[in-house]
Symmetry: C3
Subunit: 275 residues, 3 copies
Amino acid sequence: AEGGSSAQVAAQPAASGSTYETLLVTTEDKITTIKLNRPAKKNAITSGMYDEIVAALAQAAKDDSVITVITGAGDYYCSGNDLSNFTKIPEEGVEQLAKSSGELLRRYVSAYIDFPKPLVAVVNGPAVGISVTVLGLFDLVYASERATFHTPFSQLGQSAEGCSSYTFPKIMGHAKATEMLLFNKKLTAAQASELGLVTEVFPESSFQSEVWTRLKSYAKLPPKSLAYSKQLIRSTDKERLHAVNDAEVERLMERWLSDECMNAIMTFFQAKAKL
Amino acid sequence: AEGGSSAQVAAQPAASGSTYETLLVTTEDKITTIKLNRPAKKNAITSGMYDEIVAALAQAAKDDSVITVITGAGDYYCSGNDLSNFTKIPEEGVEQLAKSSGELLRRYVSAYIDFPKPLVAVVNGPAVGISVTVLGLFDLVYASERATFHTPFSQLGQSAEGCSSYTFPKIMGHAKATEMLLFNKKLTAAQASELGLVTEVFPESSFQSEVWTRLKSYAKLPPKSLAYSKQLIRSTDKERLHAVNDAEVERLMERWLSDECMNAIMTFFQAKAKL
Amino acid sequence: AEGGSSAQVAAQPAASGSTYETLLVTTEDKITTIKLNRPAKKNAITSGMYDEIVAALAQAAKDDSVITVITGAGDYYCSGNDLSNFTKIPEEGVEQLAKSSGELLRRYVSAYIDFPKPLVAVVNGPAVGISVTVLGLFDLVYASERATFHTPFSQLGQSAEGCSSYTFPKIMGHAKATEMLLFNKKLTAAQASELGLVTEVFPESSFQSEVWTRLKSYAKLPPKSLAYSKQLIRSTDKERLHAVNDAEVERLMERWLSDECMNAIMTFFQAKAKL
């Protein structure tokens, strides 16, 4: 644990050039790390935070790093879409909110589809919703044994995004993917690794030290070989992934205005108000 | 087991609206259950039974149920195509039999490809042939530990159907799929689950109670979210699945008239006659 | 082990009709076996050997065997591309070497994509590089527990071939495939089987006897059913596989002339010279 902590600190110094409100972005040892930094909100993603992640990915794509990492500050990796996003209804009404949210989502997922370098998720704790679904667009997914993977879309009257309607059945087969994407099954880290969603699971005590030691050695490999190989692997699916993203966003824009979704979200906030 | 039996009975009352000869079709708790009901013949599928299943699926697609289940009466889930189908040669000859059998098969598999709601297989015992191959078109597959999965096509001079030539390699990879589809390997329930063909395996003693409890809770989720999510997941493959179905049927029509197949089926009936 | 040895001898008699320098090609019990036969060089594949394998596959496609096997002589299955291939620079220069190597590679991989009968790898020991990547184009892969699977492309400034940029993610998901194809992870036989790259692993002591007993029984099945079923399974991917092969070869021709690759190969030979 000692070594783990110091390795983490070494890889992610406190500051330098980060101009984001919701992220800590640092580059060291040829690794650019985008750390989701709203630990008090379990790193739930607000509208502004989606745009910041898109900007940070664009920056990482251009900098001289070899590998890009996304991870979370605090105990959670990411609790998914911040449901308060649904309460900021503009003057033009909920249709306009659905439309702009759809555009934002499409842009967000496209940033993952088109990312040109090896992209690694360091899943330090529970992951929910869109932080899980986009994992199929990462190249490596390392998880602490504390991590869980949960996509409770239908409970909220919604539907799958992040290209998971395509990547999850491809990774684990329909019989397993449906339990996650339709029926809200939460996976442990070990289960997610068996199904191929996660590359490898590490004990919590050595998670940070083991993962960063490995990533630092990977970042010393020939950069162009890595980037070109990643692009080669993704190229056969790229066109299809954009089409899937479009179809998922279109469905979600319909869902967000549906009675099923509105009732589910109202129930969510009523339950929260009672606490 | 007690709870299991009563849950099963509760979910599948003895009658109400079923007008099928070979099936028991019931709707309860928003679940439509299509039970293959030729237990004395291990639920082998006759020509007429194929058409009844197509009709029952069409009915389930339109009714107000949320989930559709296929299961078997008695000890078997389904022993596959009833080979007696091959002995009913019409006046026009075997070519006509191959042609009409091909059309029937194409229609049968299409009914699975196009089914618009979550489709669940409750595999209560051994499954053979086409009852196994179409499992790749289901959304969930729950199996008793007694279930086995066997597709002995090449032994009979035939070839894969039910879109398994596409879905099985997608689910488990070619190295595993070939042993089933070309070399007649029979899987246990546990093996089928490891390979992703089965969602989850249950002990025989609690199979019915655990599965139906789960399905009843799933059927309470927002119906449109479930149906649209299922359609979203399947939409990327739909066109390809119909093309695969066509190619498989065309190959089988050739196979059924081949010496390899005719000899194998003759041997089968001779062996049976000797018993 | 006794039985194993004798079974192997029986299946692969010392001679008959083989006119290859680097291969032993024999047909017995309806099985054509192509044995890589440079055991002193761990069966590394020279330029001439690529062409011999292409020729042997073309011969096996036409002979009256039912199943074709590739295996290795000695302790190794195959150590991959013989790096001495890179040192035979023609008068026209390295660009010409890259071009002719690319053409050879394209032809070599195409021979696997188009092979019309069940193709089986009997992986008797460590497998490296292109002997691993083409495994996704085989129909069955049997491995001794001694086998390992290693594709160290990026270490050499190169990139994936053998259609592995497409088949590996399809078989095991991106999160697992990337560790092999980008980050040089070596798999044990057991790991390769869990991920679906290998059909089954056998103890070294009984490997040869168990595998050849099984293959001999498979070779008695109806030949056309087997060949047509294999072709049916592969047909949906064939066009895409050729496109993937083209893209991989194009990338490799660029890589071979890159500083990253030239430096890595120079370092390799310098390290070797010091031994």
